[in-house]
Amino acid sequence: MSIASVLDEGVSTGPVAPARRRRSRSHWILVGPGLVYLILLFVVPVGALLATSLYVPVPGGDIGQYQPALHWQNYVHALSQFWPVMLRSFWFALVATVAALVIGYPMAYAIAVRARGRTLLQGMLLVLVVAPFFTSFILRTIAWKQILADDSLVVSILHWLNLLPEDARLTATPFAVVCGLTYNFLPFMVLPIFAGLERLDARMLEAGADLYAAPITTFRTVTWPLSLPGVVAGTLLVFIPAVGDYVNATLLGNNTNTTMIGQVIDARFFKVLDYPTAAALSVVLMAAIMLLVTVYIRRAGTEELL
């Protein structure tokens, strides 16, 4: 006999309670404050920036006095004057990103794969990657300036080895600026690649080694594709701040062929008090980066990063 039973559909069970549907709103408690913050301090300011980029000077007013307008010619003016600087910024950032990838990937690989299992060593190496964050990056950049200075040991050795022509120098060159950019954002390259490689199953590498034998083939067919999301994240985390950076260009550059767009925006804002041009350049910079990032993420097939 059955000790429990299904009620037939025909058997009436009396009035059935209406559907109690409690629409959960608890997620707004969690995400609400953060989103409101981001709207108030990101969306609204970017709006203010857009508005400022269209302002015109107050007729007969002082320098630095502007009034609301829709003067889109500000953009034409700003770009026609500063497009070479804009282009140079993207070029420097690109070179620095590639350099950081070339230097950072072996570091991440060594920490994640070669030091796998040796937790203490792995931890120490990670600390060394992160620790420079705690020394002022401006001080470290100035340290580079000293290390590469004309009368420094490095330059003397290079001269002595004839690797550097007698009249050539390292500081105040595009090379120095790109070096500085590479150096300053290197940890942002190492950490995401490390995170990606760490998740990589060691057995997968062994299987790859088993199937392909040649380590370079294993790397090309197994390791690299699996670490790609980390590489994409790392390159973005280096490229984006590098484009807008002006500390390296100011401290390590000269003022002729190393000027970056960040320097221009900063100067327009604080020295020339030309807010509309500074804002217009900022908007163009932001838009250009958005475009590049979107195309890049699509091409790399890592949309989930968004």
Binding site: A4, S5, V6, L7, R20, R21
Partner: protein
């Protein structure tokens, strides 16, 4: 939905005898446009070991989660111990769950895991209760370990103890043995049964493993597409399935289409199966006229070789050709291809040792009319058969 004729009366009796631990009334759960549970009603009496059995996606886990309070029904009510708990939340219900992944708190020791529910309820003598709970699952010596330091079977027992110490009105088990290997699973099945008898709590066990459900449960409800197909004791379900799904999902069945042609005076239905007259007891048929599916379990079939004749109370089909013979030790399984009807499975006990026939042999199939059952002819004959892509 199918319900046996005696089911409704049994419900009334049980409700008065022992009091229902759990009563689900006309519950539906809809996710977007997917109906996970479809107008389900179910009563589980106090102290029983009840199994919800069905393939993945049949709505059994959703039903369990609604009982636990982790999901709210779209419509209908859920009462425990006579109290309507619809709309209350998980922490307000006298129900505890053994999760499929065990969901042990990794930052707490085994003892602290077991004490968690007691502390939240502000119970006294927590240390003694925890010790008792761990004794019950024979893990008292591991109270200070972290869950990560235990084996899968040990973790499973901690999860059980953590739920049991609260002495819930209903204990829910969500595929609790799914992650264990076969041998350990057999052992835990017996142990769960022992513990249930010992503590006398109501257990509701969700599983897709028919053997597990049949071994442990007093009552099994077979679910499919958000509804209960059939409910009863394991033996009832096996011997007298009422739908093609149940016939195939619980064990194996040979199902062939036929048409009822006559009701005999002895309470038998005569069914025409591809020109052969097959007798089915009227009480074992879902319908008494029209198209039916005639069914018989493989172990009830007998192979007739050469001039062997069936007895007078037996049905007979064939001849057919033996296409496959596999020896499994206890029994031998034959596949017999009968022209116009398809392939029949036959399990024969190895009473005499060795197999009786070779592949290619011509045989006829005989079985007692009493073991024949008949289902609605509209059912798909292969519904509920094991699909290798489906099962985890």
């Amino acid at each position: 939905m199918t319900s046996t004729a005696d089911g409704a009366t049994a419900l009334v009796e049980d409700a008065t005898d022992t009091g229902a631990a759990l009563e689900i009334r006309r519950v539906s759960k809809v996710f977007g446009d997917f109906v996970a549970v479809d107008d389900l009603s179910l009563t589980v009496p106090s102290g029983s070991f009840f199994a919800l059995l069905g393939p993945s996606g049949c709505g059994k886990t959703t039903t369990l989660r609604m009982v636990a309070g982790l999901e709210q029904p779209t419509s209908g009510t859920i009462a425990i111990g006579g109290r309507d708990l619809t709309g209350t939340r998980a922490h307000q219900r006298p129900v505890n769950t053994v999760f499929q992944s065990y969901a042990l708190f990794p930052h707490l020791s085994v003892g602290e895991n077991v004490a968690f529910g007691l502390r939240r309820q502000g119970k006294s003598e927590i240390a003694r209760r925890v010790a008792e709970g761990l004794d019950l699952v024979e893990l008292a010596h591991l109270a200070d370990r972290r869950p990560a330091q235990l084996s899968g079977g040990q973790q499973q027992r901690v999860a059980l103890a953590r739920a049991l110490v609260n002495r819930p009105s209903v204990l829910l088990l969500d595929e609790p043995l799914g992650a264990l290997d076969l041998k350990l699973r057999r052992q835990m099945q017996l142990e769960l049964k022992r513990i249930q008898t010992e503590v006398g709590l109501t257990f509701i066990h969700v599983t897709h493993d028919q053997e597990e459900a049949m071994t442990m449960a007093d009552t099994v409800a077979v679910m499919n597409h958000g509804r209960i197909e059939q409910m009863g004791t394991p033996a009832e379900l096996y011997e007298l399935p009422r739908t093609a799904f149940v016939a195939n999902f619980l064990g194996q069945s040979n199902l062939v289409p036929g048409t009822v042609v006559e009701r005999t005076r002895t309470g038998l239905l005569a069914v025409d199966v591809a020109g052969t007259r097959i007798l089915v007891p009227e009480g074992r048929s879902v319908r008494s006229s029209g198209d039916v599916l005639v069914g018989v379990r493989p172990e009830k079939l007998r192979l007739l070789v050469g001039e062997q004749e069936p007895s007078s109370t037996e049905n007979l089909l064939g001849p057919g050709t033996v296409t496959d013979v596999s020896f499994t030790g206890v029994s031998t399984q034959y596949q017999v291809e009968v022209p116009g009807l398809g392939t029949f499975g036959v399990f024969a006990q190895n009473l005499l040792g060795g197999s009786m026939v070779e592949p290619g042999a011509q045989v006829r199939l005989a079985w007692s009319a009493d073991f024949t059952f008949a289902l609605d002819g509209a059912d798909a004959p292969d519904e509920g058969t094991l699909d290798l892509d489906d099962e985890p």
